[in-house]
C-alpha cells in the first residue's frame, strides 16, 4: 500500500476563488492510501516546496499528488522537489484543478466537485505508480535547416559560427528566398541584393555549412538529438562540379516560352536556367517539363554549346542520409493567389499587378530593367493606385483572417520609391488602417504622406475596370469625407496577403510538428518559447511561424540558432522513462503496433517463450526504448492488450477512469 500525500494549491486566487480548497482537502483525506493532505497559497513557491518535502520525510510518503496548474507548467518543479526529499520523481502526479476547473467554471460548487474528482483520479493512479529511472541518449552534433531564405541562412550561419556543422536543404535551385526578389528594403531603403548576397556567399563558403539546393527532405525518423533524415537531391541534369555558371546554355536554349518564376512570370526563361545572376550555387538547372530533349529526344543544344561539358541528361536523383541533433524549419511564405478577387481585374489586365510583381518591375534585373513601365504597352505610367489588405483580415472563404503585417510598410516603400524616381507620377493608396509599429516605421510612413505627397485614402476599392482608352477606372470610397472616389489610373498594385509555403504541411507531418488553422507552425509557448516547436528538437525561424519582416526574421533566426546551439552543446539528453513494453506472453506478433508507431521504435524478433509450460518460438514485438517517445499509440493499437506504457499502464488509466466514475 502506498503512503500518499495530497497538496492542494490556491494559486493565489486563481484556484482558491473558484475552488473550495478546504473542501478538497477534506474530501481526499479518506481516499485509499492518503495519509496526509494540506492546502497552501503557492505550492510552487520555496515555502510550498518545503512543505511538500517536510511532509514526505515526516510521513514517510511513497507518492504525492499536487492539485495545481497544468503539468506543462510545474510538473518538472514538483518532480525535482520530490527527488530532493528522496522520492522517485515518477511517484508524483498532478491534478490540474486550474486550467481544468477554476479557469473554466464559474460556479464554486461545480468547480469544487470536479476538483475533488480529478484529485481522486490522480490518487488512484499514484496507488499503482512504480519508481522509474530516466535513461540517457547521445546528441548528434549536427543541425539541419529546412529552407534557404534569409531566415534559414541566418540560423545556419549562427549555428555554424558556434562551431557546429549545419546542412541547409533548399527546394529551389538557389538559396536566398523571397528577399532575393525584392528591390529595396524598408525602413532604410538599402538594396535587398546588396545586403542578402553577402549572407548567401557567407553560407556557401562557411566551412561548417553544406548546401543542398534543388533538394527536399524525403523522410525524417528518430527524435531530439538523434534525427535520421533522408534528403533527395533532385537531378539538375547539369554537373555542378563542372558548370562554371557562364550562362551560355541559358541564352541558347530554344525553349523559352515558359514563365520566369524569379520575375513572377512577367517574362520568360529558357528550359535550362540560372534563376538570377547572383544565384548560389551559380549552376544551371534543366527544367524537364519544358526541355525539348526530355520531351522529344531532340535538341541537346545546351550540351553542344557548353564548353565545360557540364550538361548530363543521364543524371539521376541522389539520396543522402544524415543524422542530426536538431532541425530548424525556415520554409517561409508565398503570395496568396489573388485570382479569386475578380473585382480588381488581376487576371484580365496586365497593368494590375501584385506588390511582389512590382518589386521585380522596379528592379534593375527585372523584366523592365528597373524602369517603371505598364506591362500592357511598356509605356510610362502617370497614375498608380495601391490597394492594401487584399486577402488579409477577412473572414470569408477568399480571405485570410490575419493581418499580413508587412504590406503597410512595403506599400509606403513602393509609394516613396516611385515618387522619388518619378515625381510626375501620382500615387494613391487605399487603406483600411495603416499599421506601422516598429522602430522608425511610423516615421517612414509619415514621410510618404508629408514629404512625398502620397495620397492616402481611408477606404477600399470596390471595383476596377478597363476604360476604352486602355487605362483603368477605379471606383472606391473615402470614408473620412464619406464620399465616392472615381479615379483613372495606369496601374493598380495589390498588396496581396502572404501565406505559408505549400510544402509546409508535409514537412510538419514528417517532423510531427504542429501547425495552426492557417498552416503557420505552432510555437511551444506563444510568449515564453516562441522559436521552439512543441516537438522536442524542432525549431522555428522566419515567416513559416507567422508574418514578419526581415529585421524580425533575422532576430528570430538568431534566437532559433541559440536554442539549437544550447541543445547541441549537451553531451547527453535525459530520456523519458515512460516508454512502451510488450508482454511477451500476450503478444501475437501481428505488427499492429509497428504500423502506428510514428517514431519507428518497434521491431520484431523470433524468440522462444515459455507459455505455461509450453515452449515455442514466436514472433514478438520489441521496443527500442531510446526511440520510443511514450506517445502510447501502440498500446491502443494492440488487439491483444500486450503493449503497455510505463507510467501510463492500462491498469493505471482504468483506475483513473474508475475513480472518476465512482
Amino acid at each position: 500500500m502506498q503512503r500518499i500525500g495530497v497538496f492542494v494549491c490556491w494559486c493565489g486566487s486563481n484556484i482558491a476563488a473558484t475552488v473550495d480548497v478546504d473542501a478538497v482537502v477534506e474530501a481526499v483525506k479518506n481516499e485509499p492510501g492518503v495519509c496526509f493532505a494540506k492546502n497552501y497559497q503557492y505550492m510552487c513557491s520555496e515555502a510550498g516546496q518545503a512543505l511538500i518535502k517536510d511532509a514526505i520525510k515526516e510521513h514517510n510518503l511513497t507518492g504525492i499528488v499536487v492539485c495545481s496548474c497544468s503539468p506543462r507548467m510545474h510538473e518538472a518543479t514538483f518532480r525535482k522537489t520530490a527527488e530532493q526529499a528522496g522520492l522517485n520523481p515518477y511517484m508524483v502526479e498532478i491534478a490540474n484543478i486550474r486550467e481544468h476547473c477554476s479557469w473554466i467554471h464559474k460556479d464554486m460548487k461545480e468547480a469544487t466537485e470536479k476538483a475533488v474528482i480529478l484529485a481522486r483520479a490522480a490518487i488512484a493512479k499514484v496507488n499503482l505508480n512504480a519508481p522509474l529511472q530516466a535513461g540517457e541518449s547521445a546528441v548528434t552534433k549536427r543541425a539541419l535547416v529546412i529552407g534557404g531564405g534569409i531566415a534559414g541562412l541566418q540560423s545556419a550561419i549562427d549555428i555554424a559560427d558556434a562551431g557546429y556543422p549545419v546542412d541547409i536543404v533548399e527546394k529551389s535551385p538557389t538559396i536566398g528566398g523571397k528577399m532575393a526578389q525584392l528591390d529595396k528594403t524598408f525602413p532604410t531603403l538599402d538594396c535587398a541584393a546588396c545586403i542578402l548576397t553577402p549572407k548567401m556567399v557567407e553560407a556557401a563558403q562557411h566551412p561548417n555549412i553544406t548546401l543542398y539546393t534543388y533538394s527536399e527532405v524525403e523522410e525524417v525518423k528518430g527524435f531530439v538529438g538523434n534525427f535520421n533524415v533522408k534528403i533527395k537531391k533532385k537531378a539538375r541534369f547539369v554537373d555542378s562540379t563542372k558548370c562554371t555558371g557562364c550562362a551560355v546554355c541559358t541564352a541558347k536554349c530554344p525553349s523559352r516560352k515558359g514563365g520566369n518564376e524569379f520575375n513572377c512570370n512577367l517574362d520568360t526563361r529558357g528550359a535550362v536556367y540560372i534563376p538570377f545572376a547572383q544565384a548560389v550555387p551559380n549552376v544551371a538547372t534543366i527544367d524537364t517539363e519544358r526541355c525539348i530533349h526530355f520531351k522529344t529526344g531532340k535538341c541537346g543544344i545546351c550540351q553542344k554549346v557548353c564548353s565545360a561539358g557540364a550538361i548530363d541528361f543521364e543524371q539521376k536523383d541522389e539520396f543522402i542520409e544524415e543524422k542530426y541533433g536538431a532541425i530548424v524549419v525556415a520554409t517561409g511564405f508565398e503570395i496568396l493567389d489573388v485570382t479569386k478577387f475578380d473585382e480588381f481585374q488581376y487576371t484580365k489586365h496586365p497593368d494590375v499587378v501584385t506588390s511582389l510583381e512590382l518589386e521585380r518591375i522596379m528592379n534593375a534585373a527585372g523584366p523592365t530593367k528597373g524602369t517603371l513601365l505598364r506591362m500592357s504597352n511598356k509605356e510610362h505610367p502617370h497614375d498608380i493606385v495601391f490597394i492594401q489588405c487584399v486577402g488579409s483580415r477577412g473572414n470569408t472563404c477568399r480571405d485570410k483572417t490575419y493581418c499580413s503585417k508587412i504590406c503597410c510598410m512595403y506599400t509606403a516603400k513602393h509609394a516613396m520609391l516611385i515618387r522619388e524616381k518619378y515625381p510626375d507620377v501620382n500615387v494613391h493608396v487605399f487603406y483600411i488602417d495603416v499599421r506601422t509599429p516598429g522602430k522608425n516605421f511610423d516615421e517612414f510612413y509619415r514621410r510618404a504622406v508629408e514629404q512625398y505627397n502620397v495620397d492616402y485614402i481611408k477606404g477600399m476599392v470596390g471595383k476596377v475596370w478597363e476604360k476604352e482608352n486602355g487605362r483603368l477606372a477605379v471606383q472606391g470610397v473615402d470614408l473620412i469625407s464619406n464620399r465616392r472616389i472615381m479615379l483613372e489610373t495606369d496601374m493598380v498594385v495589390l498588396a496581396a496577403a502572404i501565406q505559408p509555403s505549400k510544402g509546409v504541411r508535409n514537412i510538419a507531418t514528417m517532423l510531427t510538428a504542429s501547425i495552426d488553422t492557417n498552416d503557420f507552425l505552432t510555437e511551444a509557448h506563444p510568449k515564453l518559447r516562441p522559436v521552439e516547436s512543441p516537438t522536442a528538437g524542432v525549431f522555428l525561424s522566419g515567416v513559416c511561424q507567422g508574418p514578419k519582416d526581415i529585421p524580425e526574421t533575422v532576430s528570430q533566426a538568431g534566437a532559433a540558432a541559440v536554442k539549437v546551439v544550447g541543445l547541441l552543446a549537451k553531451d547527453k539528453l535525459v530520456t523519458n522513462p515512460c516508454t512502451a513494453t510488450p508482454n511477451e506472453l500476450m503478444c501475437n506478433g501481428c505488427s499492429s503496433c509497428a504500423r502506428v508507431c510514428p517514431y519507428g521504435a518497434i521491431d520484431y524478433v523470433e524468440k522462444e517463450v515459455n507459455d505455461h509450460g509450453k515452449r515455442e518460438v514466436r514472433r514478438l514485438a520489441t521496443v527500442n526504448s531510446a526511440l520510443c517517445q511514450g506517445c502510447g499509440a501502440c498500446t491502443v493499437a494492440c488487439p491483444s492488450g500486450a503493449m503497455d506504457l510505463k507510467g501510463f499502464s492500462n491498469r493505471q488509466i482504468m483506475a483513473e477512469v474508475d475513480a472518476i466514475c465512482r
Binding site: 473585382e343 473572414n395 470569408t396 483600411i432 477600399m460 470596390g462 470610397v477
Partner: protein, 123 residues
C-alpha cells in the same frame, strides 16, 4: 431596437472593420443619405431611428454587391433589409399579394426585384 435588427438580419454588425468595401462597391451610393458602411456602425450605436427614416432603405437595389464583397461577412444589404422590414411592418402589410404576381410576371424581370416589390411597390 438594435437587437431587433440584429435578430431579423442574422448579422453581427460588430464584425465590421470599417473598410468601406461595401460603399466602394454599391451602385446606389450617390443616391443614399446613409451609406452601406455607416449602416453597420449605426446599428451598433443604436441609431436605428435615423435608419428607419433614412432614404437609403428605398434607394438600395438589393443587388447584393455588398454582400458578395464584404470581407467580414457583415453583408450590409441584410441589415438594410431588416430595417426596411421594420418600417414596412410598422405601416402594416405588403403592397403586393401573391395572387397578383402571375399577371405581372415578365421574363426580363429579375426575381430579386419581384421579392423586393412585395415590400416596396406602391401604386
Amino acid at each position: 431596437m438594435s437587437e431587433n435588427i440584429i435578430r431579423i438580419s442574422g448579422i453581427n454588425p460588430r464584425q465590421c472593420m470599417k473598410c468601406g468595401k461595401c460603399s466602394a462597391t454599391c451602385p446606389a451610393f450617390d443616391e443614399m443619405d446613409v451609406h452601406p458602411h455607416q449602416f453597420a456602425s449605426m446599428v451598433v450605436e443604436g441609431r436605428v431611428d435615423e435608419l428607419l427614416a433614412s432614404e437609403t432603405l428605398w434607394k438600395c437595389l438589393s443587388c447584393f454587391a455588398c454582400v458578395e464583397r464584404c470581407p467580414r461577412s457583415v453583408e450590409p444589404a441584410k441589415l438594410i433589409e431588416a430595417v426596411r422590414d421594420c418600417v414596412i411592418r410598422q405601416k402594416g402589410g405588403s403592397y403586393l399579394s401573391p395572387d397578383d404576381i402571375p399577371e405581372k410576371l415578365d421574363s426580363e424581370l429579375p426575381q430579386q426585384a419581384l421579392m423586393a416589390a412585395f415590400r416596396k411597390y406602391r401604386k
